[in-house]
């Protein structure tokens, strides 16, 4: 009887891995993992941050949105900026798992699982902010169409209602996509778990999966369909989010380039976050054979492309303002360059447009340390962009008598930083309890790399 296949070096997977070793590497991190002081200190730190976040939410609910810096004319402050930023971060996860699956990109295999988890957590946190931002958050469900005793319905012409449908669908489909991908791996964990409690927990979650060929056939069809459905979905979500702004006639908001511009920005921040998570993850679990320089290189190239697209969008925005001849449009634009929030604008340009130009160099794209630094800074840059769009446009409206400034309060910062801590906390829980890389797909990749290495390497 012939031996089991052993992987060959195909760029996205290094040589020498078999079915068993791949599984043990990934599954044992969960079941028998090396949870060192580094994991525990990160856990403690982010847990503390999470507690602060929820305490701050409690205080917000008790006191009201007055604890933030929002006021008239800038009624949308950090909360809406955070919302757009977080939902954008989620996009890369869906892009990796759906787009790249349809395009048969092999490098998605080892990064799609944790990128999808990132999507889920980011979109969930994003969904919190509009609710926190409501004056009476306990009535948030009024936006949902249901036959209520008040006899009123949502206003279907409002982009805020579209938002509910877009974000709600996005969260649900992301969750389902992620969970369906997990089912075979949960079965693996069930069969591998040593304690009864884990066997029951993973067994229930695995839904009785047993790897039957007929099941796999339907599973693969459903998975491919989900990818095909998630692809237009991910484009639509940030487009709808951008319509929250573009439908309004506020100068600086009212622009037709917003949907593609927002989607490109979302992918830029999303890939930055994927790298922010992937680089420590691969270092901590020593996953250098699974998440190779090729993965970093590809993600960096996508950051470069999306950075070029948003740079183009910035240019078009400026051009259109002048081309429109609208006095107010031109003023809001020049105020962006020279006004009160100019430092934020120039920081945005430096971090989102200039800094990613370093990624033209292969050496930078393949250096984990350099990429990590760039990714962190791009995250900051993308947050500045969201801030600028939300705040700067509003603080110089049509009516000069209504002009005013937005100054963030300490609570603005607590809610922003708290949400980041909460995100990291959820991610730490995820890598503690679930396989961060798809075990079943990695085994298929092992076989493919052994059977036809040239083909896989060229696709990767």
């Amino acid at each position: 009887m012939s031996a089991q296949p052993v992987s060959r070096d195909v760029g996205v997977l290094r040589a020498g891995w078999g079915y068993t070793s791949v599984q043990d590497k990934i599954a044992d991190a969960v079941l028998a993992g090396f949870w060192t002081w580094r994991w525990w200190s990160a856990f403690a730190l982010t847990f503390a941050g999470t507690l602060v976040f929820f305490a701050a939410i409690g205080y917000l609910f008790v006191t009201g949105v007055g604890i933030w810096g929002v006021d008239i004319p800038v009624a949308w402050g950090y909360a809406i900026g955070n919302f757009v930023w977080w939902i954008g971060i989620g996009h890369a996860g869906t892009f990796i798992s759906a787009f790249l699956l349809l395009l048969r990109q092999k490098w998605r295999t080892s990064i799609n699982r944790f990128a999808e988890a990132m999507t889920l957590f980011a979109a969930g946190i994003a969904g919190l902010f509009p609710i926190l931002h409501l004056g009476r958050p306990w009535f948030f469900y009024w936006i949902v169409p249901y036959p209520d005793v008040m006899d009123v319905w949502p206003q279907w012409r409002s982009p805020l209602v579209w938002d509910l449908f877009a974000i709600g669908t996005y969260l649900t489909v992301s969750l389902v996509f992620w969970y369906v991908g997990l089912i075979p791996d949960l079965a693996t964990l069930r069969d591998r778990a040593a304690t009864r409690g884990k066997q029951i927990a993973y067994g229930l979650l695995a839904l009785g999966w047993r790897g039957e060929a007929r099941h796999w056939a339907r599973y693969e069809t459903a998975y491919l369909l989900l990818a095909g459905l998630a692809t237009p979905l991910v484009i639509s979500v940030h487009s709808v989010v951008s319509l929250d702004f573009a439908i309004g006639i506020v100068p600086g908001y009212h622009s037709t380039i917003f949907p593609p511009y927002f989607v490109a920005g979302a992918l830029l921040s999303g890939f930055a976050m994927v790298l922010t998570l992937a680089i420590p993850l691969r270092r901590y679990f020593r996953l250098h054979d699974f998440i190779t320089e090729v993965h970093l290189d590809h993600a960096a190239k996508l950051m470069l492309v999306t950075s070029l697209i948003i740079t183009y969008s910035y240019a078009v925005e400026a051009f259109m303002a002048f081309y429109s001849g609208g006095e107010q449009e031109i003023y809001v634009l020049t105020d962006r360059w020279t006004g009160a929030y100019a430092p934020v604008f120039w920081m945005m340009l430096a971090l989102n447009s200039a800094l990613p130009m370093l990624l033209w160099w292969r050496a930078v794209r393949r250096s984990a340390a350099a990429l990590f630094a760039i990714a962190l800074l791009v995250n900051v840059g993308m947050w500045s962009e969201r801030f600028l769009i939300v705040v700067q446009s509003m603080h110089r409206d049509f009516l000069p008598s209504a002009w005013g400034m937005f100054y963030p309060t300490a609570w603005d910062w607590v809610h922003l930083l708290g949400s980041i801590a909460f995100f990291a906390f959820l991610f730490l829980l995820f890598i503690r309890w679930l396989p961060a890389i798809s075990i079943a797909e990695m085994k298929a990749l092992v076989k493919e790399s052994a059977d036809k290495p040239e083909e896989v390497a060229s696709e990767a």
């Binding site: 089991q4 079915y19 599984q23 693996t188 591998r192 009785g208 060929a213 339907r218 069809t221 797909e441």
Partner: protein, 178 residues
């Protein structure tokens, strides 16, 4: 066969290629109720086992249409029939504004229908299965490939099935009690 009821005869293989060969051989030998178990989807196994195309895409189509049509109807009914409000003289049936929600729920309906159909047609979730009683079967989610000739139909003969599987040179051969 009746007293010590049998679910089937199970064979274990080390590689996917050996399983594929075994599946083809079993089909060629005339065994119709043959099922394979693998840790990941194996290319070519559908053909080897003659698995017909599945109906998951149809379910997704129906779910998508139901979601989209239902959402459009909801918007139209609530804005035109149930609670018409004249806002700046805009038409009550302002269909372009209805597109985003319609689109989103089309996707949602199709996605949920695809997954629900996959699970229902697969008979999942399921708490137990005769195969889980076989100790070696744990490896079906790890690194082994299994072929099961199921004891169905009046002409099934366990002795002959065992003898046939033995010719496929499996790692191990065992009975699966029903």
């Amino acid at each position: 066969m009746k007293p010590d009821a049998l679910y089937g005869v199970l064979a274990e293989f080390r590689t996917a290629d050996a399983l594929l060969e075994a599946a083809r051989a079993a089909k060629a030998a005339g065994y119709r109720d043959v099922e394979a178990y693998t840790p990941f989807p194996v290319e070519g196994l559908d053909q080897a086992l003659a698995i017909p195309p599945n109906r998951v895409p149809l379910a997704a189509l129906v779910g998508g249409i139901a979601g989209g049509a239902g959402t459009y109807f909801l918007q139209w009914y609530s804005a035109v029939i149930d609670y018409p409000v004249n806002i700046g003289g805009r038409p009550l049936h302002s269909w372009p504004s209805y597109i985003p929600a319609t689109f989103e729920i089309t996707i949602l309906g199709a996605a949920l229908a695809a997954v629900a159909a996959m699970l229902i047609m697969n008979g999942l979730p399921r708490l137990t299965h005769p195969l889980f009683a076989v100790p070696e079967f744990d490896l079906a989610t790890r690194n082994r490939f299994f072929l099961c000739v199921r004891a169905r139909g009046p002409r099934f003969d366990a002795e002959r099935a065992r003898a046939f599987i033995a010719t496929l040179d499996p790692l191990c051969l065992c009975d699966v009690p029903a």
